[in-house]
């Protein structure tokens, strides 16, 4: 089952820089430590938590490359020099930084990492450089909306019961090599096509809210026990689409695209008629992130 998500950057032939979610960091570290100490003790490999060593910040949006170029001393940060998913060492305001062109926001964006005692200096340099372009701060609430609009899974979808295929991430799992968990994924229950799988939902009337935790049913008027088709994992009002959008795990997944279902929230006696959509609501071709 998927238990966390993050990034891996290759810094050298034999050195990798790994990020995880905050909540999952200890679990991922313990997973790695267990395998290197118990399963493969003969491998020469060390893992160290460097969470406290680095300050990380995200610079996102169509003007992020321009702002970055103003503060990065000497290096070209254009699309060819720093492509999507690229990593580069650079200097900002005299501080050593690591640039990762990746972002949970789904925008053209960069993560800027610097040793923690330089964090405020680098932050201030970026903010000052962006003032003429109207740079603003964005926090975790905004990030939550952005990632739902982009169909990026987070804790609500990584609930310990979902496989990569359930989340539409099956293509990330290699077909050519072995990996921890590969055999387990072949178990019949984990390959069952009727498993709940990630879809998007919008309200049929284009304005009703959809609540996280809603049960998905085919007929809200049916006599209980009503068969559950799935549940809503994440929902928010999308400023881009000007309506509520939701991510949900629904039996049969995207094969039910276009179908009408009902999101029932008995705690508030609400039922919303919803349509099954693709989970990526904004920029599905990824034009912004590859810009």
């Amino acid at each position: 089952m998927v238990f966390d998500d993050g990034t891996v950057s290759r810094l050298a032939d034999d050195a990798f820089y790994v990020t995880t979610t905050t909540a999952g960091a200890a679990h991922v570290m313990a997973h790695m430590d267990f395998h290197r100490q118990v399963v493969w003790p003969g491998l020469a490999v060390e893992v160290t938590s460097i969470t406290d060593q680095w300050a990380g910040m995200a610079l996102a949006g169509p003007k992020s490359r321009d702002v970055l170029a103003r503060v990065v001393a000497g290096d070209d940060v254009g699309d060819a020099a720093l492509p999507f998913m690229g990593v580069m060492a650079a200097t900002i305001a005299g501080c050593p930084v690591r640039l990762l062109r990746i972002s949970f926001s789904g925008e053209l964006a960069y993560e800027v990492h610097t040793p923690a005692d330089y964090g405020t200096t680098v932050w201030q340099a970026l903010f000052t450089a962006g003032e003429s372009d109207g740079i603003v701060l964005y926090g975790t609430e905004a990030m939550g909306t952005l990632r739902i609009e982009k169909g990026h899974v987070a804790g609500a979808e990584l609930d310990g019961r979902t496989t990569p295929a359930d989340l539409g991430l099956g293509r990330l799992a290699s077909r050519n090599k072995d990996y921890i968990g590969r055999a387990a994924l072949d178990r019949p229950a984990l390959a069952d096509p009727l498993r709940p799988r990630l879809v998007g939902l919008v309200a049929r009337d284009g304005r009703s809210p959809i609540r996280s935790g809603s049960q998905i049913v085919a007929d809200p008027a049916a006599t209980p026990p009503v068969p559950m088709q799935g549940h809503v994992t994440s929902a928010d009002f999308s400023p881009m689409l000007e309506q509520w959008v939701a991510l949900a795990l629904v039996a049969g997944g995207l094969e039910r695209k276009g179908e009408t279902l009902y999101a029932a929230y008995p705690l508030r006696s609400e039922t919303t008629e919803v349509i099954v959509t693709d989970p990526v609501f904004v920029d599905p071709e990824g034009r912004r992130v590859h810009g």
Partner: protein, 202 residues
């Protein structure tokens, strides 16, 4: 390079707390801008050559037990199986980092943790009492004399505690992102003893 910013903000603004006899029972100050390198030997068989390389090229002694060994202004801690920390005051003109990297090549991984810890020095007759309120290991000088090193929770935060001398005096290495909270706990625990906060030690 710009100056390094402490995680503690105004928390150690110079002041006195608690009962004030002629001399305070203890003092707490930050050791700013330390350089910390973690040395992790790849295998048991790499330890002896590593020890030899550090002795020959840098004049440094790798401790065998969980103790600290000082050579000049460099301290080496044994922190885990096959793992040590090298600590000194940061010196940007020094080539120690490059010489260290050259000395350990093929024998150990080197990881820079210089910004990853806030380092506090707690000194004075009551300092052992304060630490004992927050941690569960036995810090009595019989069991934890000068030179001893332990990693243990201090309140809710795992700290590396280094007994410096029989003052007693201790250096506390706290994860940078939790240091503010840990130091607040220390201040609360220390107030009853009469306490001088602030300043920096080299």
């Amino acid at each position: 390079m710009p100056p390094r910013e402490s995680a503690l903000g105004d928390l150690l603004a110079p002041r006195r707390l608690g009962p004030q006899p002629a001399a305070p029972g203890l003092s707490l100050a930050e050791r700013p801008a330390c350089a910390i390198w973690q040395i992790s030997a790849w295998r048991e068989a790499d330890i002896a050559p590593l020890r030899g390389a550090l002795a020959e090229r840098l004049g440094l002694t790798l401790p065998e037990k969980p103790t600290a060994v000082s050579t000049g202004d460099v301290v080496l801690f044994h922190v885990a199986p096959r793992r040590w920390w090298l600590v000194r005051a940061e010196d940007r003109s020094s080539d120690l980092a490059a010489r260290l990297a050259a000395a350990v090549i093929g024998r150990a991984a080197l990881t820079d943790l210089s910004h990853g810890r806030s380092v506090l020095r707690l000194s004075g007759p009551a300092s052992r009492n304060v630490l004992q309120k927050l941690c569960r290991i036995d810090l009595h000088p019989r069991g934890f004399p000068a030179g001893c090193v332990a990693q243990t929770p201090l309140g809710q935060v795992t700290a590396l505690i280094h007994a410096l001398n029989d003052g007693p005096s201790f250096d506390l290495y706290l994860p940078r992102s939790l240091a503010f909270s840990a130091v607040e706990s220390l201040i609360d625990a220390a107030t009853e003893f009469g306490f001088a906060i602030g300043g920096q030690v080299g």
